[in-house]
């Protein structure tokens, strides 16, 4: 057993001093629960995101982009794998329980995966806008995260997500310099995905948010969200696209871009598994889990593999 703290006050003082909690520490239950729930949702989102990418492997235009989507699928599933290991080590749920909860619609994943990517334009908008939003939230956690095992995994995840964002920028530039039909396709996707991407940051952080107090998040939701609008609104406009926010305010003096009022009802619906594509997504993931049951069955009963370089082919 690692370290322990006499009281919550002592524990919070440790965190405020920049202390890092490790898995064998006797951390307060509330902290353990909060960190676990956060990592579980991140893991679920990586897995649901990976399944969406997988759906696009056969439909992605061009060999080079197809290769990138293949690799991105492996990235997302791999991130989910790492995160489920870190979450399971916290001793609250086994990995299999987390997966079963996800496929039964009992646990949460990011709002953006409750919508359907219908066209290649949607995929471009997702990799350009949503990947950047997800990366910004992960960077804000990594910067100051008090839970050591998560912080170390995040460092690797962030470098790969940064790479996805570069791919998204490349795709966006390609479609922006394309034909009128391609540009119209992308504009339609922007109209559909701008608000879900913006809502990924969540409503304004509450003053008593334990994720901030316990140094799991380092920045308030509204700050991250505003920074994202500040970057992407002028960028899209400079390429001749329209941001689907009639109340977007540009202050040329201060150089700022501020979004209009945000309707949080769509986000609330996704949290309750009532998003436009929630039911199909969860059913798809559950069917995939059922279809691959024989692999788990075989692995559970497999003899130990002999060590050495001549083992199973991959």
């Amino acid at each position: 057993m690692g370290r322990s703290w006499a009281s919550m006050v002592a524990f919070e003082a440790f965190l405020d001093d920049g202390g890092i909690v490790e898995v064998d520490d006797d951390m307060p239950d509330a902290y353990r629960q909060a960190v676990f729930a956060f990592i579980e949702m991140h893991a679920n989102s990586e897995l649901m995101g990976g399944l969406t990418e997988r759906d696009w492997i056969p439909k992605t235009p061009g060999l080079r982009h197809k290769m990138a989507v293949l690799a991105k699928t492996q990235d997302e599933i791999g991130h989910g794998h790492l995160l489920y290991m870190v979450a399971a080590d916290m001793g609250i749920k086994h990995r299999r329980e987390m997966l079963e909860d996800l496929f039964a619609g009992r646990s949460r994943f990011h709002n953006v995966f409750h919508y359907r990517a219908k066209t290649w334009g949607d995929q471009v908008a997702i990799s350009f806008l949503v990947d950047a939003a997800a990366l910004a939230t992960q960077q804000a956690v990594f910067k100051n995260c008090s839970y050591g095992p998560y912080r170390r995994i995040l460092k690797r995840i962030i470098t790969e997500e940064g790479f996805h964002m570069r791919m998204g920028e490349e795709r966006m530039l390609l479609i922006a310099e394309g034909t009128e039909v391609q540009r119209a396709l992308f504009q339609a996707s922007l109209d559909d995905w701008w608000w879900p991407a913006l809502q990924l940051f969540g409503p304004d952080s509450q003053p008593d948010d334990v994720l901030l107090r316990w140094h799991i998040k380092s920045e308030r939701n509204e700050v991250l969200r505003a920074r994202w609008v500040q970057k992407f609104a002028p960028l899209l406009i400079s390429y001749g696209f329209t941001v689907p926010d009639p109340d977007l305010v540009h202050d040329p003096e201060a150089g700022t871009w501020t979004s209009g009022p945000i309707d949080w009802e769509p986000l609330r619906r996704t949290l309750a598994m009532g998003g436009p594509d929630s039911a199909r997504r969860i059913a798809d993931a559950a069917a995939n889990w059922a279809d691959t049951g024989w692999v788990r069955e075989a692995m559970d009963h497999a003899p130990e593999r002999a060590p050495g370089p001549a083992g199973a082919a991959v």
């Binding site: 080079r64 492996q74 791999g78 794998h81 095992p149 995994i153 370089p309």
Partner: protein, 157 residues
């Protein structure tokens, strides 16, 4: 410095897109380098595995830095089909940096993998990590989740 040396130094400044701070030369991607008398450069790189999505990004980055070297008139970057990349090509410095910065171990042959955090031998949980060149291990001593870089050509590592 000769033009070849300047070009080599320039290539060594290109980082792998998935490992900021670790150069493509330290990862062992640079295989051949030819400079003609009139300053035409041909760089031969080998990929860690053929489906790597970073290939065009790396080639663009290399072309950009080489193109701005004094004495270079043009630059071609080619991905070579042989020899196959293996983890033996990763430099000791890169190995240390990967362990320290990214908790990624590099496995050589059949040697057990040491946990980058506590040094204990790790156990493999999955051959498949977030990339084809990495497996996932965990450390029985400190519970760390460790990624292990492996050769894609040699089966398990």
């Amino acid at each position: 410095m000769t033009t070849v040396e300047r070009v080599r130094t320039a290539i060594a400044s290109v980082d792998d897109p998935e490992y900021p701070g670790i150069s493509v030369v330290d990862l062992g991607l640079l295989e051949t380098l030819d400079v003609t008398l009139d300053g035409h450069v041909v760089v031969g790189l080998i990929p860690t595995f053929s489906g790597c999505p970073a290939l065009s990004m790396i080639a663009n980055d290399v072309r950009a830095v080489v193109g701005s070297v004094d004495g270079v008139s043009s630059c071609d970057v080619r991905w070579l089909g042989a020899p196959a990349w293996t983890v033996d090509r990763v430099s000791d410095e890169a190995r240390q940096a990967m362990a320290q910065e990214f908790t990624v171990a590099v496995r050589i042959g059949v040697e057990p993998v040491s946990c980058p955090r506590c040094g204990a031998p790790t156990t493999e949980t999955s051959l498949f990590g977030p990339s084809r060149c990495r497996a996932v291990h965990s450390c029985p001593a400190c519970s760390e989740v460790v990624e292990v870089m492996r050769s894609s050509s040699g089966g398990r590592a």
